[in-house]
Symmetry: C2
């Protein structure tokens, strides 16, 4: 009852004494019970229950060759439901392999990423899964990581030849833009991440490709590529729609920009402002898109699947595929019309 601090966790020795056997027998029992008489096993298990014993996994993994059972995962923004789903996918596959996940949030800060990776390795993780920030990546080079395999998700890092899981960003953005063009739009605005963000660049490329192919103008005045959050996205959409030659459609390269754009469009409708009510294509799904006051085409993809795929690549490398060449998996996206 008294939860006095320092009532240390019981050790294997105390279990052994309580069960009247040697520590070795306890260890063997907990390891599955090979070559231990059933009656002794039961005495051991009773002592374990009695004392509330938990095997010290850290001490266990100290022994070389003994895996730690941990996977280090660093994502850029836990508050984004997309990455929450991603982490969930990783966690599912990790659990299937009996591994636990240590999760860190980088917030797009590469100093924080370095710190996380270093801590992960210090904790003897068996592998790393990262949504990399766009900064310097010296700490991800194989000679720094030693033995620990790395899988990148969502984004690639220049000059780093490792397993990677990507979306079909270019193709999805292309097809989404084509959908707008097919609907008769020619002035199509672009909202997206800055070009140093891998997906931002790729999705812009898809947009640009479609526009050029159809001879539609890519006008700098209606291309905004520096919004990372909803507020700045809203502002960018406002500036665009305030112009006399406002676009009649908007391509948004990610969830945050979509929400920002729709907020601004909603405001204009509520306040009865003049000007177009632009159609929207959104890379990334969001809930209730069908209830929006303007038609929204969604370029949908499955974050959880992305996480599962990343974890699958990692465990493949932890298994047989140790020395194999780096693989890149590109997951398809679907364009869903309103």
């Amino acid at each position: 009852m008294s939860t006095t601090r320092g009532a240390r966790q019981p050790t294997i020795k105390e279990v052994a004494r309580s069960a009247g056997v040697s520590p070795m027998t306890v260890s063997r029992t907990l390891a599955g019970g090979r070559n231990v008489r059933p009656d002794l096993q039961e005495r051991v298990m009773a002592a374990v229950r009695e004392l509330g014993y938990y095997r010290n996994e850290n001490a266990r993994s100290l022994r070389p060759g003994q895996p730690s059972g941990l996977i280090g995962v660093a994502i850029t923004n836990l508050a984004n439901p997309y990455y929450g789903n991603f982490a969930l996918g990783v966690e599912e596959v990790a659990a299937e392999h009996g591994r636990r996940m240590i999760l860190g949030n980088t917030g797009e800060d590469d100093a924080r990423e370095r710190q996380l990776v270093s801590d992960f390795i210090g904790r003897q993780v068996e592998g790393l899964i990262l949504v990399p920030t766009s900064g310097d990546a010296a700490h991800l080079r194989p000679e720094r990581l030693g033995d620990v395999p790395l899988v990148l998700a969502s984004r690639r890092v220049l000059g780093l030849e490792v397993d990677t899981v990507l979306l079909d960003d270019v193709g999805g953005a292309y097809r989404g833009t084509i959908a707008l063009l097919d609907a008769g739009h020619t002035r199509i605005g672009f909202l997206g991440n800055r070009s140093s963000v891998f997906t931002g660049e790729r999705r812009y490329k898809g947009y640009e490709q479609a526009m050029l192919e159809r001879g539609a103008p890519v006008e700098p005045a209606i291309v905004a590529r520096d919004q990372q959050d909803v507020v700045s996205a809203s502002r960018a959409a406002r500036a665009m729609l305030d112009r006399p030659d406002a676009p009649t459609a908007i391509f948004s390269a990610n969830n945050r920009n979509t929400i920002g754009a729709l907020r601004e469009i909603g405001r204009r409708i509520r306040e009865g402002l003049p000007g177009p009510r632009p159609a929207v294509v959104s890379f990334d799904d969001f809930e209730l898109s069908e209830l929006m006051p303007v038609p929204v085409t969604v370029i949908d993809h499955d974050a959880r699947l992305l996480g599962r795929e990343a974890a699958t690549l990692l465990f493949a490398r932890l298994g047989d595929g140790a020395g194999a060449a780096a693989r890149t998996v590109e997951l398809p996206v679907s364009v869903e019309h309103p």
Copy 2:
């Protein structure tokens, strides 16, 4: 260059040999460098960089009294952005205290929760933060947890006297319902979790209290309390709205039920079905609520803050407040009219 498996991480001994000092000097240098000559420190750091050495945190925490630097966090649903934000809040505070977070997802499964807790303790976490599932909680009793402090978030566990962070569920639900009644509604439907879910029960209580107080009828036919996901919520809303005496307003006890209800309402509007277009009060915020075709009042609260608060309670207990009585913090919610 060759990443042969088994190119083991370098140890403190190798660093010592490379720097021409004893392992002790390396250890001291890494611990801050007290009582180590600056020139030796530099030689050590150079060797560390050269070899790509990472201190083995597991071995380090083996020594009794040495903290592991880990906090175990288990939440019920990572895919829910609400819990993603919660985890983010925990992570922030943990990072401020130099701790890392191990995150697990229970999926409302208490067997999984047991397993996670047991693994966390095996990894010598310094503390636990849990959004508990509603099942059996024997594994959370202090005699099972020994030394490891526990903080519950969002939900309480019957008969467990531990630090807890809650929302003002009852008050929020009460005020949200009152808002509907004030607007003239009397037939107000209820969508929520089953009553074994702590928040589900509390929020129903707030609704009921407001209804009874104003003499409005609480009719079983328009009270649905068993939806955990969007699809079943949608179905429940449909059944309710298909009735000849359909409610003119709906109180939704959480995000999932809100989304489901609005999907159904949107469908009815699009398809031009007859019947009321009910006003909605939603416990839990969601993005773009201002763009909905029916007025939505939001009972808003800050998941990230909830996480921060939970972590703060935990670190208080890890610090001075070791023996203090269990505390409960109830965070306020705000009712935001459309």
